[in-house]
């Protein structure tokens, strides 16, 4: 299986200090320039293989969406690089980026904000074609729009209508159509179903899986819903506070999570069983991403933490078909159940 997208040692910091005047502080009789950043991503390494669906899971604020937006070039990484088929793409000029724009597309979280309210559906769908395939004739363009609308289950005769005339599920289908219309090979989906009604979620998921099968798509799927992961992803990456804890094939992860955070996360899935012997209750709260904990970011809440965890940042290591970053696993301190 060949690698399509590779993320290497990605960092993203968002400054929260104000302008120059706000930053100046008097400390011990000396003027100092204060610098404060939100560390949204702290060294993420990830590879997406061609044809697979890689899910990123994690709680709110762990940097999932930032990873997605950095991969798409919507925000620039502070450090590290993004590679597409071996070619580095995070530092390209808009013109050089153009050929990659056609090959990678994005589906957004909120179907109520991701369509321009002043453009009809046809206009929205025709714009990418006009832009990327300007050699296409008018009739061909119309055919293409109709074909993609049909494929996502939206009646092509509704093209004259505006986004506010559609329901959330229909809008998300239109959003997917907009991503599919340039025939991409890689799609980043940033929580595409979390804003939808439960009854619609399955429909949209199935639509995305059908599209994957028919068009040979590769997905980077961001979600916080573990049941979706079980249904959708071939591999899962678990994130916590801007770092990758564990990357594993879906089945392996659900059968036997190894990282203490993955274990806690999976044990939190509600189940129809009276006894839940393995339910892990984590202590404390997620630390602030402004002042990151030293060593492993999870050490403050981890039941297996020791001095090494408090001082040394664990690297992502390959064990069998699982990548994991945990000292305790490496030293075999966790009794596997």
């Amino acid at each position: 299986m060949s690698t399509l997208v590779e993320i290497r040692n990605l960092h993203k910091r968002f400054p929260i200090h104000g302008d120059l005047l706000d930053r100046i502080r008097l400390k011990g009789g000396r003027l100092e320039l204060r610098e404060e950043n939100v560390h949204a991503i702290n060294g993420v390494d990830l590879t997406v293989n061609k044809g697979e669906a890689l899910c990123i899971v994690g709680e709110s604020g762990c940097g999932k969406s930032t990873v997605a937006r950095t991969v798409m070039g919507l925000i620039e990484p502070s450090e590290g690089s993004v590679h597409y088929q071996g070619q580095r793409i995070d530092n390209l000029s808009p013109r050089e980026m153009m050929s990659y724009r056609r090959r990678m597309q994005m589906i957004f979280q909120n179907p109520y904000a991701s369509l321009n309210p002043r453009m009809s559906i046809t206009e929205t769908l025709e714009e990418p074609i006009r832009f990327h395939q300007s050699d296409l004739g008018k009739a061909e363009m119309k055919d293409k729009v109709a074909e993609v609308m049909q494929a996502v289950g939206v009646d092509p005769s509704w093209g004259k209508r505006f986004p506010h005339e559609f329901s959330g599920g229909q809008r998300q289908r239109i959003s997917i159509a907009r991503a599919l219309i340039v025939d991409p090979e890689f799609i980043v989906a940033d929580e595409p179903i979390s804003a939808l009604d439960v009854s619609i979620q399955a429909q949209v998921l199935n639509l995305m899986m059908d599209a994957q099968e028919q068009r040979g798509l590769t997905y980077l799927f961001i979600t916080h819903d573990l049941s979706v992961v079980e249904h959708f992803g071939a591999r899962v990456a678990v994130m916590y506070l801007g770092r990758i804890c564990e990357v594993a094939p879906t089945r392996t992860l659900f059968a036997q999570p190894r990282h203490p955070y993955s274990q806690a996360l999976l044990s939190a899935i509600p189940r129809l069983e009276d006894e839940r012997p393995r339910f892990i209750r984590l202590q404390g709260e997620v630390p602030t991403p402004v002042n990151l904990p030293s060593g492993c970011v999870f050490h403050g809440r981890c039941p297996h933490a020791n001095d090494r965890c408090r001082n040394e940042i664990p690297a992502l290591r390959q064990v069998d078909d699982v990548q994991i970053s945990c000292h305790a696993v490496e030293e075999n301190r966790i009794a596997s159940g």
Binding site: M72, R101, M106, N110, A113, S114, P117, F131, S167
Partner: protein
Amino acid sequence: MTTQSSPHEPLLNTADSRWQQFLDSHFWHSFKRDKVAIVSFSIFFLFILASLSAPLLAPMDPYDMTQFDLMDSELPPVWQEEGDSRFLFGTDAQGRDMWSTILYGTRLSLIIGVCAVMLQAFLGIVIGLSAGYFGGRVDSFLMRLADIQLSFSTLMVAIIFLAIFQAAFGAELYQDLAMVMLVLVIGIAEWPQYARTVRASVLAERKKEYVDAARVIGLGPIRIMFRHILPNTLSPVLVISTVQIANAIISEASLSFLGLGMPPSQPSLGSLIASGFEFIFSGAWWITIIPGIALILLVLVINLLGDWLRDVLNPKLYKG
């Protein structure tokens, strides 16, 4: 949901359906319910109609010196005893028919007002869009410019500018260019109003995902700004435009009143009011009062329409 109700019905002719859509809209319904809006709109419409058809309605051409006679000067309106049936609203000091002059003057005032606002809107929208979209230093720089511009009053800038122009290039050239100069001065002095409004809405729109979607497609910043963001910021622009037209008309009238606007040979409403001011105490009140009433009425109805439009376009103000 309405979407599913009619996919199989034959599509109406687009013009018809647009019209139907308009009749069904909140816009039209609230207009029908609001008596003030209906009355203001009718009066405003009459003003526009009268000024557009001024050459047809006016019994004489106030710009043509050969058509009026000094013997007819300062005749009162027809309803007064000494009135002359040829002159509905009387005549001014040069024997010009007031009715014709007011028609032409309204036309000038409206043209200057609308053109100045178009210039303001153009500058303000371009500057506001760039400030809001690019943010950071560009934003700070452009908004400080706006602050500086706002710290001078429009009238002060206009008076200095027009006075210098008159002194430097002579009154004759000024007379020929008066209209263009007024449009430029009023237009340039008031752009920050637009820039600030547009910037504020752009800041809100820029964070929405459809803008990200456009960037993911690869569209350039100019195209995203004008094609995606601008259409979504137009309703506040529409509202301030009405207020700004009224303001521009008043500014023009004030400048003309101070002798820095339209020359007496091509009077706007403001210069008419000014020209009658000398005669008001000798009894010829109509030269000032009648154009004054026309000006007040025009500005009032535009402001009332603006108020109504603001209420309609701002959903937070829906009344019941």
